[in-house]
Symmetry: C2
Subunit: 338 residues, 2 copies
């Protein structure tokens, strides 16, 4: 199964749909052009492709799933814009973040605009899917977005309070909310809903989506530390500079000596601008010494295995085909992607 | 007609409904408590009261309108939080703004949470109003929110570009989008929709809502310059410090001498922190000299008169009663409120 080729194929279809939602219109310069910025920087279109593949597994056509897929990508872009503001990130997909280009005010407003464009794309399902199914999609989108906001609040709160007593399960709970709901769970649920037209099937995607999404996030955090700077779109080691509570940091936190803990506390307490390259290098070296990256790789591997198991259970009755093969290949793919 | 008493009566009902939507839940400290902050600072509940009054005028009960009313107030709070970030405002309802208390990241995220709580309140109409009417409400809410975001982009863009060639109709177009849609047009449309169950009636509220909302906004901007600091919840003359394009500033802009224009341009070009009290006092004095406040009062008066005219036309067939009397009293009330 060539995952990259399958994603590229659906990605092209989704980009065509996005062209309509993100078409230039007034006010262009201070709203709709900035709102379209991240979408046209590329991206794998993973989330909307999961939606289309799941919909097709359960008997729907691409056309029936395309509005939902576009909505998912637009909501993803909305979250990226606000997350970049909230996390004070400098780079996104190899270029400056939206607030770095246009200021915080305009970026927050453009993120709001993207959220509304995403909801409007979901509302556009009404003509083909009918009012009841469209409302079920909207209700699930609100649930998903609120999980995301709650996950972001956990993450921001840990940084704000300089939380140092975190365990792996705190991290996984945060990732379930902040990453999995919008990256895997909601796209899969939406696809299943469009395919089966049966809202009672939704919760069967929770476990597959959680395991897959958590493995995805841990791999993403590992790439942030050891990825190829030319292929990775964000600042390498940016997570260390930001004090992001990754599984690697949580692992190190649980093992620090008193002296290491004091140094780490001071580092995390300082504003980002006052953190030094020496401290970042020290933190990275300590993680290597304690095997924090190896631990994270092992957890990601276990999660991907659990995802594979859940996939086989939930898609047992789905006939074989390219979409089932794509979803079946996802757990291995999230571990190997660059 | 005692407008204050009528608003207080509906306000109590709406606060009860908000207690459920804004109930304490986890994560409390970094999300739901900050999200509830503005709502419990008081406020007249003008927007949801307009919705309930319009719904009752067209035959609905309070119970049928209460979810929509709560949703309107929650969306209003969401806009306030993000607007305060975008406008770099310091005070809201007599206390520090949310981002001044908790930082920009947490405030942006809490604003997102409020937007979702507002949408969920609108979705809660499904049980009583059915899927079609609920979807019509959602579609109109997205339209309204996108008008608001576009209006905010115009306003931010003018400040960003230091726009000095604005006319009264530029101002009114911005206010139509940024203020009227969510303050008057959408609450009225929602009430009419719930009362009549007829989406074709919606556009009949556009003119009444626009005239009433624009008069409201101009009065609000006048109060910012000459209100009683103990009764007005925001920093007095905060709009001058922020370089906000009010009708008074637009009026002065059209009349400046070359020297005044140069001084004004430099003042507006400077970051807020570098603007001096002397410049603010000078700007206020120039507005007085040119009669900018008088001009704004005259425009607000004319808009309120037009609103009265539109009200009489659109509510002609509505039987007399306290809700019709409340809406009839709104144009005069927006001009006289402190």
């Amino acid at each position: 199964m060539d995952v990259a080729a399958a994603l590229a194929g659906y990605g092209d279809r989704i980009r065509v749909a996005l062209c309509d939602h993100l078409r230039p219109r007034e006010p262009r310069r201070h709203l709709y052009d900035p709102a379209a910025e991240y979408a046209w920087r590329g991206g794998r279109m993973l989330r909307p492709s999961l939606c289309i593949a799941a919909a097709r597994c359960f008997g729907a056509s691409i056309e029936e799933a395309i509005h939902a897929a576009a909505g998912i990508e637009l909501l993803h872009n909305a979250f990226l814009v606000h997350d970049d503001v909230e996390d004070e990130s400098d780079e996104r997909r190899g270029r400056p973040t939206l607030h770095a280009m246009h200021g915080i005010g305009l970026a927050v407003n453009a993120g709001d605009g993207l959220l509304l464009l995403g909801l409007e794309a979901l509302l556009a399902n009404r003509a083909r899917l009918g009012p009841s199914l469209t409302l079920a999609l909207l209700e699930d989108a609100c649930r998903m977005a609120r999980e995301t906001v709650e996950g972001q609040a956990l993450d921001l709160g840990w940084r704000r309070d300089n939380a140092l007593s975190l365990q792996d399960d705190d991290y996984l709970r945060m990732v379930l909310k902040k990453t999995c709901w919008y990256t895997t769970i909601f796209p899969l649920r939406t696809g299943v809903l469009i395919g089966t037209r049966d809202p009672s099937r939704l919760d069967r995607m929770l476990s597959f989506g959680f395991f897959l999404g958590a493995a995805f996030q841990i791999r993403d955090d590992l790439l942030n530390l050891e990825g190829d700077p030319r292929r990775y779109g964000k600042e390498i080691a940016g997570d260390l500079w930001e004090g992001k509570r990754t599984l690697m940091l949580v692992h190190f936190l649980q093992r620090t000596t008193a002296a290491e803990r004091a140094r780490l506390r001071a580092f995390l307490d300082a504003p980002r601008a006052e953190r030094s390259p020496d401290d970042v290098a020290w933190l990275r070296e300590r993680m290597d010494t304690y095997g924090s990256l190896e631990h994270a790789r092992a957890v990601a591997h276990a999660l991907a295995g659990a995802a594979q198991h859940e996939f086989e259970r939930e898609f047992r009755t789905v006939p074989d085909g390219p979409d089932k093969a794509l979803l079946a290949a996802m757990p291995a793919w999230v571990l190997s992607r660059e």
